[in-house]
Amino acid sequence: MSDDKTALVEMLRKMIMIREFDLLAIELRKAKKIFGALHPYVGEEAVAVGVCAALAPSDRITSTHRGHGHCIAKGADINRMMAELFGRVDGYCKGKGGSMHIADFAIGMLGANGIVAGGMPIACGAALAAQLEDRGGVAACFFGDGATGEGEFHETLNISAIWKLPLIFVCENNRYGAGNAVESVRRVTDIELHAPAYGIAGVAVDGNDVLAVRDATAQAVERARRGDGPTLLHCKTFRSLFHAMRDAPPPETRAPELLAQWKARDRDSIARFEDVLTARGVVAAADVTAIREQVKRDLEAAVEFADKSPYPDPADLLVDMFAE
């Protein structure tokens, strides 16, 4: 993978943007500036950014209910994302989708999805399209550890394997499916162990190490381009915050020690990457501060953009139902 400075700095910027975007969204939700359900991606930034760093802009992904990180990593416009959370016409879905349904087909982001595992077959269809287009394109589907309980996970693994589709299964194992620890719903938590039964590659990677995720993804992309079919990529990460909030965040029920461990500088995805880049001399402390300030400014602008955007006109209720 290209380790050129701008690419690495952009990865760091995106990770910071993802975290700040969701921390801000939480405040906006508490303040009732935005509506509905919110699933923060805080703590898992290295997965989305690492995977998307190894994809081409024309490659396609599907996301989950926890989709803000995937959008930003794939290059979505935070103004239109924010406007969508606000339910305004300038949002990606003109306010029809909200947090759980942001999509930007123009950048190959085929949609967040409120159905656990629901995006996997759709990504598989995008991988079939890529195979038929025969231009070296690939597709990736993000899904959680909990999604491995669904039949669509198994069916999509099998079909993509038999058809040798250029598809990357990105399991974001953040240790929980809503309130349930992964150990309580799976007897074996090494999710990559599913791969051999399908004759595909199964790889486990530290999901908080963005470069490791990027490199593992790059290898999966290579396999896919060679015609060796899909890869099951198990990214081990941690959900730093709550599963979901409506009007208020739910109480934290996990042990403080555990949370502290994952907050540690050598564990937290962003802090680690900052330290790697500074150690390598790619960035200086000042650069990081500059990035953080720029992110803050961009987010303020996004909120302003969203707030200025009008609500959809109820008269347009039936618009977008059917294509001509």
Binding site: E150, G177, P312, P314
Partner: protein
Amino acid sequence: MREITVTQALEEAMIEEMERDERVITMATTRAPALENKFGDRRVRFTPISEAAFTGIGLGAAGSGFRPVVHWGMVTFSFVAMDQIVNQASKIRYMFGGQADFPVTYRCTTGGGAQIAAQHSQSPYSMFMHLAGLKVVLPSTPADAKGLLKSSIRDNNPVIFFECSRLAGVTGPVPDGDHVVPIGVADIKRAGRDVTVVGLAYYVREALAVADSLAKEGISVEVLDPRTLVPMDAAAIRASVRRTGRLVIVDEAPATCSAASEIAALVTEDAETFRALEAPVQRVCAAPVPVPFSPPLEQAALPDRARIEAAIRRVLTCR
């Protein structure tokens, strides 16, 4: 009488029925601490996110002597399990010649109004009603919720028990003791002379509110709550329409092939009721769109008091 919420009423029903019959067990993807502490994790199970599997598990356990109560969470998630509902649960007893009973209750929440958009705001009761072989329940008050859940759990057939999300926190009087409401019996929530309004779930309340305000104008609205959709209490609905001569049906599902369509058909195919009908039947339903996220759009998509009132005035004037 003491007032509790629908949620509390449903939990009471669960506790009472699990105490009453140890063959009652429960399954859901989310934990139920209150039940788990009381009845243990053998009878109160949380499952992986595998709706197709645990829907069939409920059916198989029912056919093996237990009385499972399976909670899908939102009805949205039942569609992952639709094979087990359509091809198995609704047909298994008849197809096998009635040699076994399948006392399983499937609970799920329904409805919009919470800005959680298309996938999480569905009210697809009619898709289950269409399947010969399932009983379908949709209460609108805490008392009916408790009484009908108890009846559903005691029923020896697969029952789909819908819980309207917007009613979860609504309080109402619930009798003490073993309060049971029979499946298949409609309830007239307000008697009236001029028009029959059949409301479902949340829209029973909205219809009652409209009836109040119209009463001030001397318009007498009868509000009927079917409470169960299968079996549908067609006799009660027809009798009411024969008295009033006019019918408005209110529900938050889109109109096409909905419970509202069925009620309209039940009324107009009955000769005596048809003769008594003085105005076209009106359906006040959701717009034919997936429920949108943005509040003004969502409000425009779902029925409201203004549209209920307008429909009532239409049937009262138009002949």
